[in-house]
Symmetry: C2
Subunit: 343 residues, 2 copies
């Protein structure tokens, strides 16, 4: 069912059909009604390739994620909630959100180049931002609208939103110090992902602000930021002398492995080692002890990301006049049972 068939079925020119379908004002109300009804009845939907070729846009926007690192790191609901927020903003514009999976093993930079070259999407969300991220320079140079979920040293001025890792580290350290902890570990990702640098810097700054010397041994880099990584990190921390009395984790799922390792050592999570995680999720409230962590509104983050992206696209700028979005996304401490004072 093409527009030509629809037009001849109605004894109308295809131009008029197109205008009626696209809500142009210069079309007779009666004609529009007939066209819309016939389209609904015959199940006509415009072919996207035809539109794209003509207009140079696909009305699809990609969210690039890596199947290796982040989805398995952040866990289940992280991106899901973000996607929901994005779609909320996209819906009235009839923009489709598609997730572009960078296969594990493929270079994210190559992948983004391929996606852009094929003109599969009009704009991109990119995530898992590296400290130096060639994707950003590339997208700026090619003038592809995008927004980054995460900061980077690359590419001067571009839209981004990042979680407030400074806030997490600072509040976590301050809270632990206030409760009497002095030997506080930090578990960071092992990769070149930028948040690790930000997290570590803020951790060191917070220690300094509290008059505590930084001990490099207490900064653990975990190959995986999941249960397994948590287990191994706890293992490393338990081997230290004197043993740290508290640990801050870059990912809440790691707490499961940390708890496990402490149990195996005959220690009680919380009582024998305070634990603070990153993001509140279904998980955190059901651990025993419940995990002290931070509330992050991912749905709203998704909405803001979408707004920030649309603001960079000429066709949508007017409906989302938010300017250049470069924001640190707020977090809020959620006290749990996992970080009492040291014994």
């Amino acid at each position: 069912m093409s527009i030509r068939e629809l037009a001849s079925h109605l004894n109308i020119s295809i131009g008029t059909v197109s205008r009626a379908l696209n809500g142009r004002s210069d079309v007779n109300a009666e004609t529009r009604k007939r066209v819309l009804e016939a389209a609904a009845e015959l199940g006509y939907v415009p072919n996207q390739s035809g539109r794209s070729l003509r207009q140079g846009t696909t009305n699809a926007i990609g969210f690039m994620v890596e199947t290796n690192s982040e989805m398995s790191n952040h866990g289940d609901t992280f991106f899901t909630s973000v996607y929901d927020g994005v779609q909320k903003v996209f819906a009235p514009h009839h923009l489709d959100l598609v997730v572009l999976l960078c296969p594990s093993g493929d270079d994210p930079y190559d992948h983004v180049r391929r996606v852009v070259a094929r003109r599969f999407v009009d704009a991109l969300f990119i995530s898992a931002i590296q400290r130096h991220d060639p994707r950003i320079d590339f997208l700026i140079e090619r003038e592809i609208p995008f927004i980054a979920l995460g900061r980077s040293l690359s590419g001067g001025s571009h839209p981004w939103i990042d979680l407030d890792f400074e806030g997490v580290a600072t509040q976590a350290v301050n809270r632990l110090v206030a409760r009497g902890h002095r030997r506080i570990g930090l578990v960071n990702p092992g990769s070149e992902i930028n948040l690790g640098y930000i997290f570590a810097d803020a951790y060191r700054a917070a220690l300094a602000a509290n008059g505590i010397a930084y001990d490099p041994q207490l900064l653990v880099r975990a190959e995986q930021t999941d249960e397994e990584g948590g287990y191994r990190s706890a293992d490393a921390l338990l081997a230290l002398e004197p043993r740290p009395t508290a640990v801050v984790l870059v990912n809440e799922n790691m707490a499961i492995g940390v708890y496990r390792r402490l149990h195996e050592a005959g220690l009680m999570p919380g009582r024998d080692m305070a634990v603070i995680g990153l993001r509140q999720s279904q998980l955190t409230g059901f651990l025993s002890p419940t995990l002290t962590c931070f509330r992050i509104s991912l749905f709203d983050l998704g909405r803001r990301l979408a707004e920030g992206l649309l603001a960079t696209m000429p066709a949508y700028r007017d409906s989302h006049p938010v300017g250049l979005v470069q924001e640190v996304w707020p977090i809020e401490l959620v006290p749990g049972e996992s970080d009492p004072p040291p014994r």
Copy 2:
């Protein structure tokens, strides 16, 4: 950079450039070499809309998931591993896998119709299959290649793969009975998703085979198959008299909530109530006690799904001569510490 620009840069006709790029045999080796080099140098990549319009295919294949139900249910790594397997099969064909998110709140049936109508993808994976699933009838009628991850009563003969929920229920019940349990609960999804029916039927059959009467009270339907749902299900089971000594969960994440609820009741998971989960994941080995569950090779499942899909597509059938795939995917018990004999 269009094919026309590339051709004029080489002083060759666009037809020849196209043939060279597409690996046609009727092109001079020298010419092909020049074209390929120039394309690489100038960074030319064919515009997908142009190709699609001409050929009627997009070289993109969609994986439809619902942002509400399953991603948050199955958890982090379920789909990630499946995607990886799919991409492994797609790579040599230069097919792109894109994830199509059905926004929470949208009807999956409407969504699939829209996706198909826009001709955004050449074929579809569908998941979260309902007992009666109109998407299947629709895709068959429209002759859109697809494969379902999950069985359904809808639409006679079509390709599908489903996890062996019968095997899970049967092996779990048999194992628990062998260890002396007689009052065994089952926690199922509350939705109309088909796996719930299959799981419950197999559970009842396994009980009968072991000479145990079925008690409807022991079959709990959880609104959410996550930590919260596990907590509530455990709450319901603890209220029963006499209390069940074991429970089989349709999702391993629920175990976290079940453990929590048992702890709150002063009970020990495993010792006071045996627990068996569904899928082995990073989580299951790091719970205390470790969770008895089932190993499922999701990467291979993804590969098989991809093969089953390509086998239905004329252009790829020959390279994947696997016929009509209708398979129950094997599972393998992974013993943990969570299901000892009753006290």
